[in-house]
């Protein structure tokens, strides 16, 4: 993770918080500088400060008062008028020795014409450090000729910013608002991006590829979500590997079963080969009968092997299954056609009834064939005495019946058992039902399909 801290979402988030905390305190001076500096600069260039600072006004006023102390009243008035003209925004007045206002020009504040001692003190107190800026300078020695007063709006004397138009304040508010909105948009984008990526990832996780597993995702960045994507990919890979392993094991198992079957069957074939060799030598009826019995046993042993291996595959769900829409009349006829010669050979009468229209079942045709094979096998081996097999298809029902001695007889039920186990496993796996009614007068096996559909009116 070293060196990746810059990519980290955590760091980004913390950064966002810090920005949020600092956005006003840190940016306010900067923004106000940005808003106010240009107009101030402009103003400075255009109109140099007419009044100077508080101290220059105060100093000038006292100097003037000192200079005027020996002058005639008229000269003082003239001088005061000149000073007022020099500072056009100022208010100037002269309160004489007896408290009478001798001269006033442009005075904005309320002042009486006659000043009492008390009012003078109050005025001095009131005007100290207040707006307008007021300088009171005594004229003559010890102020024996009264005081001259100048009043100036503090805005005119303060820093240049105070003299700016109010509209600049509005500008500042707008600038701050823009800043705040910018920050909100920035954080919104940040979370939207995170949200979008998480959503994409969840979609990718939910999607299933051709093997039923989600496809690996592309790493979008070097951050925590990127890591999540990587671990997701790792998980998918492991899943794939385990699927692959499972498949391999399955194929090994199947191969093993197939070889086992092969290795059991080959010697059986050899036995039969040897058996036919001696068949010609054996002349006695007893011998022939024994040979025929051995021959039959070879067949039943072979079927037993087949059935046992099928049961193994079926119970471990490894028997290949491929469901399709199957037209049962067709399948049934095709299968019975294969068995017909065998039934004939055993003198078993075959009665087949099918339906007029097509009957569609959703099954694996190979499985149905296998089921029928097992049922017919049982009829031939255990019910040949009955001399009859009935195969009937109705809409949701397939019936195989015989007139044999029934399944209760011990000697026969064993061989038939494995075959019926397969029938049972296959039938229930395909979602069908079945039942067997067996009596000494015959056996009737019924396979039922609740979802069978008979298509009527298809042939116009």
């Amino acid at each position: 993770m070293k060196g990746k801290w810059r990519q980290s979402l955590q760091i980004k988030y913390l950064l966002l918080i810090v920005i949020a905390l600092l956005v006003f305190p840190a940016t306010l001076p900067f923004v106000s500088a940005l808003v106010y500096a240009p107009p101030i600069m402009m103003q400075k260039i255009n109109e140099p400060e007419p009044y100077g600072s508080y101290s220059t006004i105060e100093d000038t006023w006292h100097e003037e008062a000192e200079a005027l102390s020996g002058e005639q009243d008229a000269d003082i008035i003239e001088r005061l008028g000149a000073l007022q003209e020099k500072w056009p925004d100022s208010g100037v007045f002269w309160v004489g020795e007896e408290g009478k206002v001798i001269y006033r020009e442009n005075v904005q504040t309320d002042i009486p014409e006659q000043w009492s001692q008390a009012y003078t003190v109050q005025f001095m107190k009131k005007s100290y450090d207040s707006d307008p800026f007021t300088v009171v300078a005594p004229i003559g020695e010890d102020g024996n000729r009264g005081s001259m007063v100048v009043q100036l709006d503090r805005d005119l004397l303060g820093p240049p910013i105070t003299r700016l138009d109010r509209s600049y304040d509005f500008l500042l508010v707008i600038a701050i608002a823009i800043l705040a909105i910018g920050f909100i948009v920035l954080s919104w984008f940040f979370f939207r991006k995170v949200h979008g990526r998480l959503k994409q990832l969840s979609v990718a996780m939910a999607e299933r590829g051709p093997h039923g597993l989600p496809a690996p995702v592309k790493r979008t960045a070097d951050d925590e979500i990127g890591e999540l994507e990587m671990s997701f990919n790792q998980m998918v890979k492991e899943l794939e590997e385990s699927r692959e392993r499972e498949k391999q094991e399955e194929s090994i198992r199947r191969e093993w079963i197939a070889s086992l079957s092969h290795d059991l069957r080959t010697p059986l074939t050899t036995i039969r080969a040897s058996l036919t060799e001696v068949t010609d030598e054996v002349k006695s009826e007893k011998g022939t009968r024994a040979l025929r019995s051995v021959n039959d046993k070879i067949d039943s042993l072979s079927h037993l092997i087949d059935n046992l291996l099928s049961v193994t595959l079926l119970t471990s769900h490894k028997y290949p299954y491929e469901e399709k829409q199957v037209e049962m009349n067709r399948l049934l006829r095709h299968n019975v056609a294969h068995w017909y010669a065998m039934f004939e050979q055993k003198d078993i009468e075959v009665e087949v009834t099918t339906t007029e229209g097509p009957v569609l079942w959703s099954v694996d045709p190979k499985w149905i064939e296998r089921i029928l094979d097992n049922l017919f096998q049982n009829v031939i081996r255990h019910a040949a005495d009955g001399g009859y097999v009935g195969i009937h298809l109705e809409e949701g029902k397939l019936v195989v019946e015989d007139l044999g001695p029934g399944m209760s007889r011990d000697s026969h039920s064993k061989g038939a058992g494995v075959g019926l186990t397969i029938v049972d496993l296959m039938v229930s796996y395909m979602g069908l039902g079945w039942k067997a009614d067996s009596s000494p007068q015959g056996t009737k096996i019924t396979i039922e399909n609740p979802d069978s559909e008979q298509v009527i009116g298809r042939l116009a």
Partner: protein, 222 residues
């Protein structure tokens, strides 16, 4: 009739070779698929085991079928799983499992030879009919008159001859002759067979040549 037979088991090989000879075939038995003759044109049928040293029976069969599509191949194997059967039947014409009855093998070879029209008999006798395969002429033995069939009737009858002794379902027949999927309930086939019977059967109401197998289909037995 030359039959190419590949089998690695000595005992089974000797036995089958002997049975084939007894049935009038000329068997050519090979232990593996590696030293087969280059030219298989002269053979009429192939019987293959699956588990063979070197090249397995499936690969061998597929190769033969590709080169000689008209040469029937019967797989004869102790591998009985549905997977193996399906793989085999992708190219082979038949799949037989061991242990088998030699009579059944001979029957299946015969069926294949007939299907591929490689049977030696030039004329077939069916009850009162004499059928000359070469010029496809059918004559009534009793009157020595030629029976003229219409196109569809001829195809149907010919299809029966190619599948002699086999039960053919309605679907098989229909699809073999019309070359299009059979629809359940279609009566066209029944009508054609009735007309065909009127021409070839002695008593069309009790047919002897074209047997009806109730509920399943039809059969013509030699």
């Amino acid at each position: 009739m030359d039959v190419l037979y590949v089998e690695d088991d000595q005992e089974i090989g000797t036995w089958v070779e002997k049975k084939l000879k007894q049935a009038g075939y000329q068997p050519h038995w090979f232990i593996s698929g590696q030293n087969l003759p280059d030219d298989l044109e002269g053979f009429d049928a192939v019987v293959l085991d699956v588990m063979l040293p070197g090249l397995d029976g499936f690969s061998l069969g597929r190769r033969i079928k590709r080169q000689y599509p008209n040469l029937p191949i019967i797989m004869l194997s102790a591998r009985t799983s549905i997977d193996d059967k399906l793989e085999g039947l992708e190219f082979a014409d038949d799949y037989m499992t061991k242990p088998f009855h030699p009579e059944e093998l001979l029957k299946r070879i015969e069926i294949q030879l007939r299907k591929y029209e490689r049977t030696p008999e030039e004329t077939i006798l069916l009850h009162h009919l004499r059928i000359q395969k070469s010029c496809q002429v059918i004559t009534d033995e009793r009157t020595s008159e030629e029976i003229i069939l219409t196109g569809k009737q001829f195809y149907i009858f010919h299809y029966f001859l190619r599948h002699l002794n086999q039960i053919l379902t309605k679907e098989q027949l229909y699809e073999g002759v019309w070359d299009e999927p059979y629809r359940e309930g279609d009566k066209a086939l029944m009508v054609h067979i009735r007309h065909l019977r009127e021409k070839i059967e002695q008593d069309p109401s009790r047919p002897q040549i074209i047997e009806t197998i109730r509920g399943i289909g039809y059969r013509v037995r030699a």
